[in-house]
């Protein structure tokens, strides 16, 4: 069971990184280390954040999936939150 959870978590992380790379055109996940990089978001200057503060990249990422995949992501998030809370309680 633990292996399955870890595997799901890894797949989810890879999908997020893959989506971000496709979306930004970045080939490296280390770009965040460079503060001069054009993909670094400056407060109030990013077209991917709505004036209300909604991150449109997350919506586009979710829309890139099928409904059942979206539900699996939600279930995985709930499991991770429970796991984290359990670890913090220990």
């Amino acid at each position: 069971m633990e292996g399955v959870l870890k595997n799901t978590h890894c797949i989810q992380k890879l999908r997020i990184l893959s989506f971000i790379n496709n979306f930004t055109g970045s080939q490296s996940t280390t770009v965040a280390m460079n503060s001069d990089h054009p993909n670094i978001i400056q407060p109030g200057e990013n077209e991917n954040i709505s004036p209300e503060g909604v991150d449109l990249t997350l919506i586009r990422w979710m829309l890139s999936m099928t409904p059942i995949e979206r539900l699996r992501i939600l279930e995985s998030q709930i499991r991770n939150i429970h796991r984290l809370r359990g670890e913090l309680d220990d």
């Binding site: 503060g53 909604v54 919506i59 979710m62 409904p67 539900l71 939600l74 499991r79």
Partner: protein, 158 residues
């Protein structure tokens, strides 16, 4: 363990007429939000409630509002418009006789879309109607999520 798909499969297995609403319906439509329970609005006719009770039995349901006792929902309560906050073997399930200002399954079924869930057709509240109801209710927790739902609706139309 939370398994929303497991709950939906058992409801379909027992031929319960319902639609998914709330946070899970928003996620189905692509909203990047988190929720911990599955909300459904069911047809309150006695025949359908009979099917619902069979499904709730298989789901080992009890009211999560009563931590000290395991109380199973009754037919006479499920045919009404009230809200039933339940716990199942697959996680929290809210069974709602009505939402918004007394809107029932019959009032809202035309505001749903059918989504294929691994061979099962599930009716899911559409995002526009869900937004309308959350605006109408106007609770703080609904207001907080409205900007995300509105942007999801916009992005989904592109």
């Amino acid at each position: 363990m939370t398994d929303f798909i497991g709950i939906l499969r058992i409801l379909k297995k027992h031929q319960v007429d319902f639609f998914v609403t709330g946070g899970v319906s928003a996620v189905f439509h692509g909203a990047p939000i988190t929720t911990f329970d599955l909300d459904i609005v069911h047809d309150c006719s006695p025949e359908n409630v009979d099917n619902l009770i069979q499904a709730l039995r298989e789901l080992e349901t009890f009211y999560r509002t009563r931590q000290d006792q395991r109380i199973f929902p009754e037919m006479k309560d499920l045919v009404g418009n009230g809200h039933h906050l339940l716990m199942t073997k697959f996680g929290p399930l809210d069974v709602l006789g009505s939402i918004g200002r007394g809107k029932t399954f019959g009032d809202l079924i035309s505001d749903t879309e059918v989504i294929d869930l691994g061979g099962h057709s599930i009716h899911v509240h559409n995002l526009k109607s869900l937004i309308d109801i959350k605006e109408l209710i106007g609770r703080d927790k609904d207001k907080a999520v409205l900007p995300i739902l509105r942007k999801t609706l916009e992005e989904g139309k592109k």
